[in-house]
Symmetry: C2
């Protein structure tokens, strides 16, 4: 497999990371994801890492990069399904995943993104009126 599939769920995109990332795969994912955000006019990106038992600093940086790129394309990123052991490792590595929000599972992540969108729409609606 040379590509990680990106699934469209309503206004959001879902990426399920099941395999160890290497440089080329990570670059391909960044390219594909940014292209899809623009093409599908996605407002949010869900990254599911529930099958990862280990998240190293490379993976942590990749997630932070993706979130940064998504943000400048006006899409929020939520990481879902993080295992407790992974959370412990990330903190021990000193990786705080700045700018990335987390949720327990895909359902909660979608609810979080939907809530963020509604807030934003209310805000932009209010500033017009």
């Amino acid at each position: 497999m040379d590509r990680i599939p990106i699934l469209k769920l309503n206004r959001f995109l879902l990426v399920t990371i099941q395999v160890d990332m290497h440089d080329r795969l990570a670059l391909a994912l960044q390219d594909d994801l940014t292209a899809r955000i623009v093409k599908d006019r996605a407002r949010g990106v869900l990254i599911d890492i529930s099958s990862l038992e280990v998240v190293d600093s490379f993976m942590g940086r990749m997630i932070a990069h993706i979130a940064g790129m998504a943000r400048v394309l006006d899409a929020e990123t939520v990481v879902v399904g993080m295992r407790p052991a992974v959370a412990i490792t990330l903190v021990e590595l000193g990786m705080t995943l700045e700018g990335v929000r987390t949720a327990l599972n895909v359902d909660s992540g979608m609810a979080l993104l939907a809530a963020t969108l509604t807030e934003g729409e209310q805000f932009s609606g209010g500033s017009k009126g």
Copy 2:
């Protein structure tokens, strides 16, 4: 990786197959999925095969098995994201995936499942009155 993650989306479960299946992985997926259907009271299963370039007879049988198991647990199965080349191969192999419905993508698959559920609920509501 020794497990394929199963994601809960509302009343449905989503499985994204990204790697080649072998016997043990397929058995583990069947076990996990049936357990999750019961635990989460899921009414539908979406199997995304958009990253598969090849679907052989083993994979075809596995999908048909999963659909059969899900059905006796009162959950419908929809295969989504099939590539055109895969569709051609399946027909050439003589695999019609009986009892399995297909949809273009996850969004359409969820709409299909939701429509099936609504029909079923109307029917059971009608038989009571």
